[in-house]
Symmetry: none
Subunit: 206 residues, 4 copies
């Protein structure tokens, strides 16, 4: 999934310098298209190869699985998520609501919904893929929340003794669970209420 950096370290597999950029792009494009058309589960490596006009071996040479290809699709799209940052207007509740409302809108988009579910499914039995998704997709998002909460902590908006990991989970966990289990629809009203309730648990004591 990641480019190898040095050709002489241990057993290296194919030489990345010889990799065909044309083929790489064709594969990622084909995979992205297929994801939209048939979804992750019904997508096959053979179909990606055929659509990309690429030999199957070319896929297997450079990616560990179709999940790996998809991960690269997203890493490509999101610029590896490195510069994610939440708004910080000084009003924590408002900032969180804005972000979560945007997230609601995203997850109500069928393509994003399907893709995220596919990732969730795949993560369960492919731990290398899970690790990669966690680091490249999830962690940056959670870190952004954590940074915003730390800022609020420094501003005295929330309890300085609070475990920020738990605080982040208090905001994202309920949302994530409701989405994943489809127990109820995701709406702006819902995330507003969620933020209000969660923040009550974070207020400075006294």
């Amino acid at each position: 999934m990641a480019e190898r950096s040095a050709p002489t370290d241990g057993p290296v597999g194919p030489d990345p310098r010889r990799r065909s950029e044309r083929a790489r792009r064709a594969v990622l494009t084909a995979a992205a298209e297929l994801l939209g058309e048939v979804g992750f589960a019904k997508m096959t490596v053979e179909a990606i190869a055929a659509r990309a006009g690429v030999g199957k071996q070319t896929i297997y040479r450079w990616w560990p699985s179709k999940a790996g290809v998809l991960l690269d699709v997203f890493t490509e799209l999101t610029g590896s998520g490195s510069e994610e940052r939440l708004p910080d207007t000084g009003d924590l509740a408002a900032d969180l609501k804005a972000v979560l409302r945007a997230t609601v809108d995203e997850f109500n988009d069928p393509v994003i919904d399907r893709t995220a579910r596919a990732f969730t499914a795949e993560i369960q039995h492919d731990s290398a893929f899970a690790e990669a998704v966690r680091e490249q997709q999830l962690r940056p998002g959670l870190e952004a929340y954590k940074a915003r909460l730390r800022s609020a902590q420094e501003a005295g908006e929330i309890d300085p003794g609070l475990d920020l990991d738990i605080a982040v989970e208090l905001l994202t966990g309920p949302f994530h669970q409701r989405w994943l289990q489809r127990t109820a629809p995701l709406t702006h009203g819902y995330v507003d209420a969620l933020v209000d309730t969660a923040l009550r648990g974070m207020r400075p004591p006294g």
Copy 2:
């Protein structure tokens, strides 16, 4: 002209009165064994049938997929989950911690962990299965939490204006997310802290 007893059903499939209890039990037992031995992903319908000494068609006649079989295994084990109830000692925090600590222990059992992950994965691309799991496995659990919180609400322990669905999610969502994303280990200390923080958000105002 058919003289079945249930006149209001739509397409009913095979007549359940003729179903062989012996075969049903053999399939569920075989599936449970295989789940423990090879895990859900490597389990096949053919293997279940072979181990159960049953024709494949007998499985396809009564279950929609191997996931359906596994769902029945669990429904069987948990007594269809109808009478789940949380302890109610009058101390909400203590009760919730006790329950969540037990859940931590469960999810740290590799077999349960693997199975729950397999279910989570399967749910993502099989909506009929998702519906069944939601109703038979998830809903009863969440309802039990909700009932306990309602009791606490009536006892004046928590804010009477609180949306109980959100309250339940505040307790289970973070746990569920941490487990699913493996962002950090599940420990008794974690759930204690989680309960304490979440409950701070639920206290009666004033």
Copy 3:
């Protein structure tokens, strides 16, 4: 395929006196219809039973196979072929041509063609069925030819020393082979030429 005659001889199977005539007729009718619609090869015992509104077991109770059923269909239709006799006008060539022309017409009927081919196929790997077909369907036909040739022999039309079995085969074998192998179409002209040539081989010497 044949009715059992005595209820006390050896292992007798089901009691023929209790046999349901309604079911028997329904099966034969259904089988005949299916033969015309899908042909013998694609016909299944299940389909016969379903079409006849009969349990599969009822078929297996009274017939050894679907071929057995079909044989009964034909035995029923042809009155067991007992009274077959060729015309005898005194002109052997004319009589044979008339009969063979009629046979050409029969075998050019698609239903008869398909049925006869199905029998031919089935005979190859079911020797009990082969025996039954041979005795009930083939032998009477060949005997009729033989009788007509014997009559011609007595009338001095053909060589008294001729082996009549070979003589019959000389007339029917070529026809049968051409039909079976589809090497050329079956026409009235063909059988006329065949009869003429074959009879040249049978003339009295001198």
Copy 4:
């Protein structure tokens, strides 16, 4: 855009240049062995594949059915039957008797008998297979007879006006019918008598 070398063919199926000779031979060998051991009817594509150490798909890729495989077995054995020729000693009767006696011996060999019967059965409901068998196995044989008879015609041994197709059938049809219907055993004596009788019908007039 595909750059295959045969530009005039219709839908061609897989590229025969890529075909694995090893797999092809293994399949034919396995099929031949199984034919001898269990016969055509009890032979399955799965068994051929297993014995050959080949995937089922490899069989389905190159042959339309198990009958197609068997046809190739025979085409392989008989050198595609292209150069069949009957002996021509100048004595037509003797030559025909020699050939037919040899054929009697062949058909009295159980393996050949069973195989020929299986082909006969298969031909009845698979017209593509029938066509192939007719062209590759039957036609060359019949042509050889026809050539020998033409030679005899030119030598003045038989009637120059005779329809040679009928003449061939007069010799092979009776034999074929007797074999197929098992009305009587195939012996050297029988074919001798058959040849004698048939040739009487072919003599030059006068």
